[in-house]
């Protein structure tokens, strides 16, 4: 086997990995964890979904076209927005727009910087843009979700504080700002902590993948560092933008704060 070669998995070899699931099943049965159905559904879904993704990506890579890349990007962005919004049903209409625009804007901006400025390939080159956009959008979505959830939890549990400061004649923006600052911190921490442990506790997924497929580790780490910085930036940018645009939708020109969505 050469250094740059990769062992191509035959279907038979590949199917051997499913044997490991028997271990999980056995432990679940022994430990009375009643999630065997979920395990089977999850494994099946994963297999089917990834197989489909594999076919779609193969087709797109073999027939590279800005159109396909764009459709993929748009679909991924919409999916990320949909996930973020469906997990935060309390958002008012304008706050939803703020979230959608922040996610799409920050994600595409960071993606463009990565692909065009750093890697320096055509933005519509599917081999770079598609996997990178997945990582960037996915992390941006998780960050925004976390930020919004933290904001809402704090804001709802501290309603007395908000009412008190409103009664004192404090500007709503000034009242809400500490909540959004706090939420931004909460959203950023997992990514930062992840960066701290990186390379010691585990080799991150993207780097592992590149190394397995024959990329020299020195190149793989450069990509890994680059993507981590891109992820930290997109989480920060998307969450900051969502919250800062969003809190403006929570009060009106009479400086009244809308509480009614709370449920």
């Amino acid at each position: 086997m050469t250094n740059s070669g990769i062992v191509k998995l035959s279907i038979f070899q590949f199917s051997l990995i499913y044997l490991l699931l028997i271990v999980v099943l056995a432990i679940m049965k022994k430990a009375n964890v009643n999630q065997t159905k979920l395990l089977i559904v999850a494994s099946l879904r994963m297999t089917v979904q990834l197989t489909l993704a594999g076919f779609v990506l193969t087709y797109i890579f073999e027939n590279p076209s800005p159109l396909f890349t764009s459709i993929y990007l748009i679909a991924m962005t919409l999916f990320a927005i949909h996930r973020a919004l469906s997990k935060n049903k309390w958002l008012n209409k304008s706050f939803k727009w703020a979230t959608a625009l922040s996610l799409a804007g920050s994600g595409l901006l960071i993606l463009a910087f990565f692909v065009i400025v750093v890697v320096r390939v055509d933005f519509f080159n599917p081999q770079y843009t598609i996997p990178l956009s997945g990582m960037i959008m996915g992390n941006a979505m998780t960050g925004v979700n976390l930020g919004l959830k933290s904001f809402k939890d704090n804001f709802s549990s501290q309603r007395k504080r908000v009412e008190t400061l409103l009664n004192l004649g404090v500007k709503p923006k000034k009242i809400l700002l500490p909540f959004s600052q706090n939420a931004l911190e909460t959203a950023l921490l997992p990514t930062l902590n992840n960066m701290v442990g990186m390379g010691i506790i585990s080799l991150p997924g993207m780097m592992t993948g590149q190394i397995l497929s024959g990329t020299p580790p020195t190149t793989a780490i450069l990509y890994q560092i680059a993507i981590m910085i891109a992820i930290a930036t997109v989480v920060c940018l998307a969450t900051f933008s969502t919250l800062n645009l969003g809190i403006r939708t929570l009060y009106n020109d009479k400086n009244q704060i809308e509480f009614s969505y709370e449920n």
Binding site: R161, E163, T164, N167, L168, G169, K254, N255, Q256
Partner: protein
């Protein structure tokens, strides 16, 4: 002169208020059964809520034309949602004054406002050890220290026994009189209104539609 008056005030189509006149510098009690809209009326006065129809005048001016932040600073509502920051009594004055972008009063002044509210604690006392009634009085003291033109007290004595409640109100009113401050009180306690009210407004006349 009426410092606050209302005309045809309706809130969310189910509370219709009689026209209300509140005289400057007086101690006015708002009475009415629970659910009659007393607390809501105070929130309408400081424009944290808006009426569905009707008009409120403050110093003769329609409050729609007044900057709501300035209105709230002058017509100060001490609501039932008591909130104190973690930290000491002094920290709390500090935090609230910095929110208002004002210099905080000196220790003598703080002690004076605490004493009006029947509190005799060192300023370093942590708010976490205060009882419900003490927290409520500290909260009132902080609001009072801003010396608004109108102070609206929503059930200020709900966590106090009658004796303490009377001392608290007596001292607040004493301060108000030296400052020509108007005091509006919502209280269920008949003892208090009988003793202190210069004017009693029954909003029960308001119809629930």
């Amino acid at each position: 002169m009426d410092i606050i008056k209302t005309k045809d005030l309706v809130f969310e189509d189910f509370i219709r208020y009689p026209d209300i006149y509140i005289k400057k510098g007086k101690v006015v009690f708002l009475v009415g059964s629970s659910g009659s809209g007393k607390s809501t009326l105070l929130k309408l006065f400081n424009a944290t809520l808006s009426p569905s129809s009707g008009t409120i005048f403050y110093e003769g001016k329609n409050i729609d034309e007044i900057d709501t932040l300035k209105l709230r600073q002058e017509v100060l509502l001490v609501g039932q949602s008591v909130y104190l920051f973690d930290g000491s009594i002094k920290d709390n004055f500090n935090r609230f004054y910095s929110y208002r972008e004002m210099n905080m009063p000196n220790e003598e002044e703080i002690k004076y406002f605490l004493s009006i509210c029947q509190l005799d604690f060192p300023l370093e006392t942590q708010t976490s050890i205060l009882s419900g009634g003490e927290a409520q009085r500290l909260y009132t003291a902080i609001f009072l220290s801003f010396l608004p033109k109108v102070i609206m007290l929503d059930e200020p004595t709900s966590a106090l026994d009658t004796q303490n409640a009377k001392s608290l109100l007596r001292d607040i009113i004493k301060l108000a009189k030296t400052r020509d401050m108007t005091v509006i009180v919502v209280s269920h306690d008949k003892n208090l209104s009988e003793e202190f009210a210069e004017d009693i407004i029954d909003i029960e006349g308001s119809k629930t539609i």
